[in-house]
Symmetry: C2
Subunit: 238 residues, 2 copies
Amino acid sequence: MRKKGEGKQSTSNQVYEILRRNIMNLTLVPGTPMSEKDISEKMKVSRTPVREAFIRLSNEALVSVFPQKGSFVSRIDLDRVREERFLRESLETSVLAQLIRNPEPLPLREVKQNLEDQDAALNREDKAGFLELDEEFHALLFDLADQPLCFSVMKSFSSHYRRIRYLSMSVSGVSRSNYDQHVELVRMIEAKDISRAESEMKHHLGKLDDEKEILLRQYPDYFMERELSVDDPFSINR
Amino acid sequence: MRKKGEGKQSTSNQVYEILRRNIMNLTLVPGTPMSEKDISEKMKVSRTPVREAFIRLSNEALVSVFPQKGSFVSRIDLDRVREERFLRESLETSVLAQLIRNPEPLPLREVKQNLEDQDAALNREDKAGFLELDEEFHALLFDLADQPLCFSVMKSFSSHYRRIRYLSMSVSGVSRSNYDQHVELVRMIEAKDISRAESEMKHHLGKLDDEKEILLRQYPDYFMERELSVDDPFSINR
DNA sequence: ATTGACATACTTGTATGGTAGTGTACAATA
DNA sequence: TATTGTACACTACCATACAAGTATGTCAAT
């Protein structure tokens, strides 16, 4: 039953967006059961659009569906975080290289406006706002390189990485260091210094490696168990 | 990797796999109308699993769904091909670099077995078989680098690139040059020659750039029109 | 107290009917 | 003849009913 006044988005899409947002900002905590019936009643829609949203969310590993058993908000998989970071690092540095290779001067106006907004968000201690601007910052770089597809791919496959990052900011509070690195990156782009830009990017993305252990101890339920298959209590290798 | 003889998959998954295979090998030609009802009747299942397969296929841009109008096999979008190639090149070179950086010798047995199989497929002029082995070749490299996620991402977002490649082989016939490049790549990996390996990879992936124009002329209906939005007959800029 | 059969209340998977948006063939009109 | 109104066929979207797998609590038998 489509709501009339609001836009032309399909119900299925709206459900998808709402669930995605709430999973990404950890309002829906990892491991939470999410039955199709439950969600459909809470959102006052039928099971169909909810189910279709689940399909898309499970493609991004945000929801884990176990047939005839249940669906759950995916727990954060640290091995996946590693792979998502590799993906991200690869694409970001490639885009960076392409931008710097480009001989003509880049229209960085929007990027610089974004940096100012980041500064403002930090001053307001607006955690969610800053993360959104962070994402937009990287999106702008991809757009400048004329590679929007790569950005959307990266976005779809940063779900675990970004959740752990959100968690990190919740614990350590918002930090200016990310912003400083963004500023530095733009400087390197303007200076056409490709090697320093790349190492700056690597440093930028690798930052939260140290915090992982702390978060793992503080929120153990948010993370996936090491074993995917069933426990073997008779196993001798442990 | 899924075990084969074991339990049957869901109907939805089967429909997805069948449609994907037939779209990728151009049995279902770009632009073909594919209504949910049609497909469901042809496959003797209900509309639901077909619809769910369509959702996943449209996420990979293999099917274009126009609400209340119809669903169609996506035409090949050359701009998307460009972006898919960028994605592919970025990830492949990153994996290559990681493999070569790794100090310990790599277990290349499987890779070399795959090369032999490629050779055999070429001698049989088995086009489809060679393309599968080609894909497996790259998959093996990603597995060696412990980055299976990146491979599956690349696979999901190579749909337009691979179709144009399939088309190219249909026209020009199978060629040994791809195989030769694979052999050369493995040699470069063993020699730990990162810069030559990277340029070899770029050359490997960029090969079919020249053929694009020919294919575009020969199969114009397979390709997407330049304009995505509606024509504006009042526009002055043209 | 322990075990085991079984009813029951969940879950997701699949089928189907109804709704509204969209294009088109065709007849009515000028 | 040219144009316009309209009925109809077709679509994807959504709601709902049913089917089948799974976990769990209850109760009887040992």
